[in-house]
Structure formats: C-alpha cells, structure tokens
C-alpha cells in the first residue's frame, strides 16, 4: 500500500508587489505544475533534475511545509492537502526533512547533542533526561563517537560530513515514516557521500521508512532509489525503475543528464547527447514541450505547439518522440 499519494500537485508563486499588481505586471512562477506519483511503504523515489526543476518545492509541498496551489496529497490514507496546522502537528513527527546545507539547519550556539534530543521533548515523546540518553545512543548509531564528547560540541567544531550525520540523527530520533532528503550529500566530498547515503539506507531498512531523495546527481539516485522521477520545469518528464531508466532513457532530458555525469571509467560507453543552455525561467515556461528549446531532437512544430502528456505504465514518459533502443 502506498504511504504517500500525490495527485496533480501544483505550486504557483506570484511575483510582484502591490504596485506591480495595480499595473497588472505580476508574473506567475509555476514552480510545480501538475505532479503525480505514489510512494510505497519502505520505498525510495529519487526526484532528479537541475535547479529550477521544482524538485525541492515538491519535497516541501508533500510535507506541507508550503501551501499547495492545487492538487491532492494523501499521507497514509489521510488527505492532508488542506489540513490545519494544529492537526498537522500530530503528523509532523512522522514526516521529516533534511536539507543540503547541514550548517544552516543547525543552531550554531546549541550543543549538537541537545539539537538531536530536542525534537523528542518538543513533540512530548520524552523528558529531557530520557531524550539525552536517546540522543547519546543516536550519536553512537551515526558514528559520532565517543558520543559523550560529541554531545557537547557545537556545529562549528564538526566537519561537513559530521554535521550532516547530526542532522540525520536529529531527523531519525523520531523514527519517521517518511523522509524527504534534499540534496543531503551535494556539499560533501564525493568520497564521503557513500557513507552518508549508507547511513540513510540503514535507517530506512530498520524503520521501514519511505524516502524521497532530491538530487541532481544520478549516481546518488542510483545508490539509494528503487525508482527515479526526472523533473523539468515543474513537471515529471520521465519516471520508472532506476536501473531501467539509467540503461534505457526515453526522454532526451534524461539522456542528457546521464551523458553529463562524470565517470572514472576510461572509454565508457556514454550517450553522446549534449544539450546547450540552461533551464528556462519558471515564470516564462516555453510553449508545447517545455524542454523543446534545449532538445536536440525537437525539429517538428508538434514539440513547439503541443504539450506531451505522460504515457505508460511502470515506465512513463512525456515526449512526442521518445528514444527507442
């Protein structure tokens, strides 16, 4: 059974102040523009795409950290789309988020042990002395030993990787059912990334936790996710089982992401597709297929005029001319 069902989710931001509004100069930024997916219990889905693809906004919407403009979010059978903050508070411990920059997510003046213990007290799960004991266990679990020594440290006394371990410990102490991890390793050295991802995988197994891994790096997605959803300008353009997508991309944008991933393998048989330019401004979404201005295969008026719909079953793609192999 699905833990999370997201249907036609939308988030539009209105850009402009009162004067702009009077002069009818406001612009609508369509950050998320109709996203639908299901996430099974214990499953990991990677949301992959460049900055501006809407992947982080999608992550925040499903946790109701942002108000959706439209669509439906069902968490464990309960529609939370319009749920009031008071009711949401009861669900919050079951859904956690970790961010890209571990330094920004920690209070620089707070002992990291206390930061880990705090959620237990805030949500009325434990007294401070119980929470302290659990936080010490958690420090041990995430490899920050001796735990008593690390408990008293401040974030500045830790390396980037160690800080991210603290952030993970803080999110995991509540044993959530759903974790949204937003680029958790992109600011960490390549050689340290796997150890952080392994830690998340261990917790996922232990708690039968579902995970949404937001990343621009397909190599990271591959290590943790059973399924991948590739996003472009607020929409999912391709979704399916990870290895299948990596070996057989259908959408040209997916192929471009694969081609751009650096490899250590000499003479690797990479796709040669190269795309130019950068992702468009989400307040000026191109007509038809939103990828068409960058797509090397787009040469028909169909791509410019008609928006392709997602088609397929376990593998879905939104492209008028999907790649075939």
């Amino acid at each position: 059974m699905a833990l999370l069902e997201v249907e036609d989710l939308k988030k539009y931001f209105i850009q402009g102040d009162l004067v702009d509004r009077l002069l009818r100069r406001v612009r609508t930024v369509k950050a998320v523009d109709g996203v639908t997916f299901k996430l099974g219990k214990g499953e990991t889905l990677a949301l992959v795409g460049e900055s501006g693809s809407g992947k982080t906004t999608t992550g925040k919407l499903v946790l109701r950290l942002l108000e959706p403009t439209g669509g439906r979010i069902v968490f464990d059978g309960v529609d939370i789309t319009r749920m009031k903050e008071g009711e949401l508070r009861k669900l919050r411990p079951r859904m956690q988020m970790i961010y890209q920059d571990p330094y920004a997510s920690l209070n620089p003046r707070m002992e990291v042990g206390r930061a880990i213990a705090e959620p237990l007290v805030v949500h009325g799960r434990a007294s401070w002395s119980e929470a302290r004991r659990e936080a010490l266990e958690m420090l041990e679990r995430v490899g920050l030993t001796p735990a008593k020594d690390f408990y008293r440290r401040r974030p500045i006394q830790l390396s980037g990787g160690q800080r991210q371990r603290v952030v993970i410990a803080r999110a995991m102490i509540l044993k959530p059912n759903l974790l949204v991890a937003d680029e958790p390793v992109s600011m960490i050295d390549v050689s340290m990334r796997t150890s952080i991802l392994k830690l998340l995988l261990d917790f996922k197994k232990e708690y039968n936790m579902s995970m949404i891994m937001i990343t621009h790096d397909l190599a990271v997605a591959r290590l943790v996710a059973e399924r991948v959803a590739v996003m472009y300008l607020g929409k999912i353009v391709e979704m399916g089982p990870t290895e299948d997508i990596l070996h057989n991309p259908s959408h040209p944008y997916t192929e471009a992401l694969i081609a751009a991933a650096p490899t250590i393998v000499p003479r690797a048989r990479k796709p040669r597709l190269r795309i130019k330019g950068e992702i468009a401004d989400p307040s000026r979404i191109p007509s038809g297929c939103r990828f068409h201005p960058r797509c090397p295969y787009s040469d028909s008026s169909k791509c410019i005029e008609k928006e392709p719909q997602l088609r397929g079953d376990s593998r879905i793609v939104a492209c008028h001319y999907p790649l075939t192999r």
């Binding site: 990787g161 390549v190 397909l218 190599a219 990596l246 650096p262 490899t263 393998v265």
Partner: protein, 316 residues
C-alpha cells in the same frame, strides 16, 4: 617543456592554537600545454597548494620553505607587485564561486576592461571593451553582454565570465579551483568541455583542483592525489586510474559513485586526520587495509616508479 616546477614546498598556517602544516614537502612539475588535476578531500591541502602559486595564500598561510619555479623564475621570492603583474597576464585563476569575485554594482564589460587596462594590454577603454566582448564570445556568451550586470546572468554564465576574464590575456597557466562545484550537472559538463577546448586551442596549461576524481579523469593528462597535506601519488591519468599504486588512490576511486561501474556502497573507513596532530609514520596508515609494521613508524618517501611517483612503503 616544463612550465612550472614546485620543489619541496611547505606551507604552514600559524594560529593561536598552534602551527598546522597544510602542505608538506610537495614537489610537482607541469609541462607546457599539459592538464594536471590535483585531487583530494576537503582539508587535504589541494587549494592551499594551488593558491600559493600565484601568491593568493590567505593569511595566516605562509610558504615556509621550497621553491615555485614558473617559466624559470622563482615566484616565492617575488614581491606582491610582481606577482600581481603575473596574475591575469601569465597565470589566470578561476574560483568556485563567481559571485564573490564579481562586483555586483559594475557591468561585466567594465570589470573586464579594467583588468585589461591594468595590464596595459589595450591602449584605450574602447579597445579594452572590444577585447572584453571578444573574450565573452570565446566562452560562448554573446559579446553584447558586456553591458550586463552580474545578477542578470545565471550561475553557469557567471562562471563563463570568470573563465573569460581568466583567459582573456592569454595566460600560460590557468588554475581552476573547484570551478563547477556550485553548478548543476549539465552546466558542469558544458563548463568542463569549454575549459578543455580553451586549453587545446590556446595551448595553455591547466591545473584543476577538485574533490571529484571522476571529473578529473575525463579531462586530465596527469593527476596528483593529495592526502593530509601530502602528495601521495602522481602520474599519467590513465595509469593512475587503471592501476592505482597508493592504497588511498585505490580507495578514493572505489568510493566514488559512478554510473558506468557496478553499484557499490564502498566507503573509506575512518576520517581524515587532524593536521595539528597527524598520525606518526604514513598518515594514511590508520585507514589503510594494506598497512604493515613500517607504516606505523616511518614516513614513506616519494619513490619514482614507471613514470609515476608514489609515497608508500609497499614500493620501497
């Protein structure tokens, strides 16, 4: 022909909490037109080593001994003024974050023209602006963007502007310190391709500083791997990647997630040491699965081996 030779270079940071050796006995050579990548984790000393070359070490960092011979002259004995002349004209530098190196209040063309005038490479402001516009074209940005302010460009375009500024006076050496770390993967690939084509077209040498050995593997001629302030292995890229000699190089390769290899969750055990109190003997020995008795007691000396240099007791 050798463009740059670094000989037994030591760089210290002296702080109230003590002395820290950030680069220890580093020796390297870089040939004309060659691409050398320096790879290592945060704190390995790779940026410190690279920034010491054009005299951009931030205090309290200080070269305590060794020589940096660039085109026959020792840069470590040059004055600040002499180094300033060499920067830009003979050595170009690109940093990780283009926003911190561009003035938000002035147009790109203005900033580029100023640098050109400083090095007396143009006789008038107009000529300098024309050169700036041509430099933008060479990095794939329309020349009329000289009129733009930095905030009107995307992150990838700003990095292209920084590259244009670094190469517009046709330097012999370009030092690029994590130039794509802040960028998305497709933009990163395009920037790397741009750097490679500029290197080939201009015949300049490139020194790339990166924590991503896969990124280095695709573009480099040679690679130097740093660990805890020391160069542990150096050699031609293909040889190092296909047959790493140092166990750290081997572990670094194995721990890098890669789409074109079998999926693995291998990680290097332990953490890099605190440079205030590095381990005795070989600095990697506490994390090394091949460590044996001598590793704990004696520092390995760099050994030449089939066109490579490696500092490990396994190789004498």
């Amino acid at each position: 022909m050798t463009l740059l030779r670094i000989e037994d270079l030591n760089i210290d940071y002296v702080t109230l909490r003590g002395r820290l050796r950030a680069v220890k006995s580093a020796s390297l050579t870089l040939g004309g037109g060659e691409w050398l990548s320096i790879v290592g984790e945060s704190g390995s000393g790779k940026s410190t080593l690279a920034m010491s070359i054009p005299g951009l070490l931030l205090p309290p960092g200080r070269i305590t001994s060794g020589r940096i011979i660039f085109r026959g002259k020792d840069l470590t004995s040059m004055s600040g003024e002499e180094l300033r002349r060499i920067r830009g004209s003979e050595i170009g530098v690109v940093f990780q974050d283009p926003l911190t190196s561009l003035d938000p209040l002035r147009t790109i063309g203005d900033q580029m023209a100023e640098a050109i005038m400083e090095h007396r490479s143009a006789s008038s402001k107009r000529e300098a602006l024309e050169m700036a516009s041509a430099a933008l074209e060479s990095v794939g940005i329309p020349g009329d963007r000289v009129k733009y302010y930095p905030h009107q460009l995307s992150g990838g375009q700003r990095q292209r502007v920084m590259i244009a500024m670094a190469v517009m006076l046709k330097p012999k050496l370009l030092i690029a310190d994590e130039p794509t770390t802040a960028l998305d993967v497709i933009v990163q690939a395009n920037i790397m391709r741009l750097l490679k084509s500029l290197q080939q077209r201009m015949g300049m040498s490139v020194m790339l500083i990166t924590h991503d050995i896969a990124l280095a593997a695709e573009v480099s001629d040679r690679i130097a791997v740093m660990y805890a302030a020391e160069i542990v292995e150096e050699g031609p890229i293909d040889q190092v990647i296909e047959n790493p000699l140092h166990p750290y190089t081997e572990a670094l390769i194995k721990s890098t997630p890669d789409l074109w290899r079998e999926k693995t969750l291998y990680t290097i055990p332990g953490n890099p040491p605190d440079l205030r109190s590095p381990p005795r003997g070989c600095r990697f020995h506490p994390r090394c699965h091949k460590a044996f008795e001598p590793c704990k007691a004696k520092e390995p000396r760099p050994t030449r081996l089939r066109g490579r240099t490696v500092a490990c007791h396994l190789y004498g």
